[in-house]
Amino acid sequence: MEDKDLLEKLRNKESRNYGFNLLVRAYQERIYWHIRKMVIDHDDTNDLVQEVFIKVWKNIEKFREDAKLYTWIYKIATNECLTFLTKKKKRFFLPIVDVENELSAKIDTNASITGDEIQLKLQKALLKLPDKQRIVFNMKYFDEMKYDEIAEITNTSVGALKASYHHAVKKIEEIINTG
């Protein structure tokens, strides 16, 4: 179903619930994996995914159709991730390295995470990036999104994104090859 059809259903009182159900089913997996790659833990991801869609429900009237629906939802999810990670660091008064170590430990111990050595190494290397750089890297490398879309989601220029991604790749390769 196209965005405009979904939006039509969402804005009609009688079909709003049905439209919302369709929207969740259409985007839940992409949003889930986008968040999961950032916060690592499934339970945290589950909470954040629900928060994202609740915000979508509450703010659907404010959505301007000059942007894609998917981009708008992705933006909400990105903000939720970054806010969550920031709060995590503040709540326990942990320095960044400790939160990195905590997430790294989740990769090691979580039964729902499996992979060969190099893949695990890559995931741990990603944790060494700043959160904003990591999220940009994920969108470009794993989701293969265009720079224009990422720019809209992160409110960052295309040029800055290209530079950020390039530096992230170099840093990760260095970590993998020297680890």
Binding site: R25, E29, R36, I54, Q119
Partner: protein, 152 residues
């Protein structure tokens, strides 16, 4: 000299690595998630919110409750008063009672109608020193004082 394996191993390019999904989700997670989210955001109209329910209940229940409490309270007071009245009567002496009855406008018949006298009561009232007259003795008295017959 580095061996071939080490050289290759230490010069990994990110673009050469396969993009694998390392994370897994619980079974049926994505089947159930939409329902969970929908339940969070959608409130059925026929179910009133608890605050509305409770305010309506209080509006109707409180006056009834207040009335019941008042009835109970006054009921208790009345019972207490009745006991007090009884205690007050018990405190009144026999002489005062006799005086009251004598000075009252109640006739002997009216007084007797208020009292439930049975044989046992009569026996209790009888003083051993009072002579009980038999029928023939009564007849003699009535012959001497015929006006007494009207009083019996």
């Amino acid at each position: 000299m580095k061996d071939k394996h080490n050289y290759i191993k230490s010069n990994i390019k990110l673009e050469d690595l396969p993009k694998k999904q390392l994370y897994s989700v619980p079974d049926n997670y994505f089947d159930e998630l939409p329902g969970i989210i929908q339940a969070s955001v959608v409130k059925p109209e026929h179910i009133r919110s608890p605050s509305v329910f409770w305010s309506a209940s209080l509006r109707y229940a409180l006056p009834v409750l207040a009335l019941v409490m008042m009835l109970v309270y006054f009921g208790i007071r009345i019972n207490n008063n009745s006991i007090d009245v009884q205690a007050m009567l018990d405190d009144i002496s026999t002489e005062d009672l006799v005086l009251y009855i004598t000075e009252s406008e109640l006739t002997t018949d009216e007084l007797l109608s208020l009292i439930d006298i049975n044989e046992l009561d009569v026996e209790g009232l009888v003083d051993d020193n009072i002579e009980i007259l038999n029928d023939s003795e009564w007849e003699d008295i009535l012959e001497a004082y015929p006006e007494l017959e009207n009083d019996i």
